[in-house]
Subunit: 248 residues, 2 copies
Amino acid sequence: MADIKTAFHIGCGNCGLQKICFPTGLVKSDVDRLDMIVDRKPALKKGQHLYQVGDKFQSLFAIRAGVVKLYEITDSGEEVIHGFYLPGDVLGMDGVENKTHQFSASALDSLSICSLPFDQLNDLSLQVPNLHNQILKVMSKEANESRLHTDLLMKKSADQRMAQFIFGMSERYRERGYVYDSFRLAILHRDVALYLGLTPETVSRILAKMHSDGIASWKKKEVQIMDRDALMALAGIIVDRDEKKQKA
Amino acid sequence: MADIKTAFHIGCGNCGLQKICFPTGLVKSDVDRLDMIVDRKPALKKGQHLYQVGDKFQSLFAIRAGVVKLYEITDSGEEVIHGFYLPGDVLGMDGVENKTHQFSASALDSLSICSLPFDQLNDLSLQVPNLHNQILKVMSKEANESRLHTDLLMKKSADQRMAQFIFGMSERYRERGYVYDSFRLAILHRDVALYLGLTPETVSRILAKMHSDGIASWKKKEVQIMDRDALMALAGIIVDRDEKKQKA
DNA sequence: CGCTCCTTTGAGGGCCATCAAAAGGAGTGG
DNA sequence: CCACTCCTTTTGATGGCCCTCAAAGGAGCG
C-alpha cells in the first residue's frame, strides 16, 4: 500500500521532472492515480545498490537526484557498464523478462529515488492507456539505446567514443533544462572507461588531449565544454546547417 | 481487419512454434483471439525488407520460417548488425518508442512471416493479461539480449566471439527442437562479422582455425559442431559438472 | 558464360591494451 | 588537523590483436 502522504510530500504532480519522467502525457487526474502507488524511498548513499543481479524484480525506479550506473560482472570477473541514469530517468526493466534482475544498479552519488511497484503500476496501466504507452515506450527506448551503445563500440575510435559520451551527457542535461556546457558529472573516469570499452589509461590520455586542444575538459567531476562544434565534429555528429545559421 | 481464414490456413493454434512464439502461456480461447488479428503475409525473398529505418511502425512480425537480420547503416555509411531472428522469434519492437522504426529488418533467406498489427495486439492485451505479460517480456528480452551483445564486444576476443556465436545459434536450434550439432545457417560470414564487430577476413581465419582444430566447421551455410565441449570452453562458457555427468 | 559479390590468404601496420610506477584525492581514525 | 591507507588518475614504454590493403579463387545468378 502507498504511504500516507505528508503535507511536505513532493508528489508527481509537483515534481520538476514530469516532462522527463513517467507522467509525460498524462492528465492531472491520472498523475494523481500514479502518485498513489509511487513510493518515495529514503536517500541512498554512494555505492549502495538499487538492486543486484538475481534479485527478485519488484519495482521500477525513477531517479529524483543523483546518478545510477547499470552494470554487471561477467563470468570472467570483469565489470561491464551498460548505462548511466540521470534525474527523471526510469530503470529496472531488466527484471521484467524473468521476474529477476539480470543486471545490477548502484548509486554513484547521493541518490534520491521513487519506487514504482510493478504489479500496481501494471494494473493501473490497464486503466490508463497513456501510462501503458509510456511503459512500452520506455522499454523500447531501453533496447534502442543499448543498440546505439553497440554502434559506439563497433564503429567509433576511442576519441570519438569519448567525445560522443561528453556530448551525449551535455544533451541530457540540456533536455532537463540545466546548464549544459559546464556541469558536475559524478562519474569516475574508470566507470566511463568501462562503459566505452576502453581502459582508464586511454580515457585519461584522451581527456588530456581534448583539454590541450581546447575542446573540453573534465577534472574533479566538473565538465566544461569549450568548443561545442569541435566536440560534435569529433563525435562524428553532423551539424544541421540550419541550426548553425540560427546560432550565427 | 483480419483475412478470412481458409480451410488450409495454419493458425496460431496449430503452429509448431507456439512454445517459442507469442502464444506461450495462453489458454486456447485466448490463442484463438490472438489468431483473429494475426495476418499471415505472403513469403518474402532474400534481400527484401520487413521494414526500414524511418518506416511508420504498424506491426510486430513473427517468423515462421527463414532468418532475418536487424541492422542499420550508421552516419558514416557503415553497416552494423544488431541481431538475427529465427523461426518463432518476434521482432519490430524498435518502432514502439517513436512510432517509427529505428532500425531495418531484411530477409537473409526465403521468409515466411506473420504480421501482428500493434494497435489491435495492444487492445487485445488489455483484456488478456498473459498476452500483455508476453509483450512486456519480449520487450525486456530485447534490451537484455542487446546488453549481452555488448558484453561480447567489450570483453571477448575474436575467437571467443565466434565460438559464442556458433554455440548460441546451436542452442537456439536446440530450443526449437531441431538437430543442433549440424544445421543449415543461411547467414553470410560477412554478416556475422558485422554482428561480431570483426572483419570478414578475421572471421574467415578463425573459422579455418576452428576447423583444423576439430572444434567446428561452417562451410557453404552448413554448420557442424565437432567438439561441443571445446567450443563451449573457447566461448568462455563454464560447463556445469552435473550436466557433464549425465552425458557420461 | 560472364558478372557480381563473397570468401580466402598473405603482408604490414596502427590503435589501444598491458604493464609499471608515481602522484593525486577521498575517506578514516587518531 | 594530520597521518595513513586505498583507490583513482596520470604518464611512459612496449607489444599484441586485429584491421587494412591487396589480389586471387569461389559461389550464385541472370
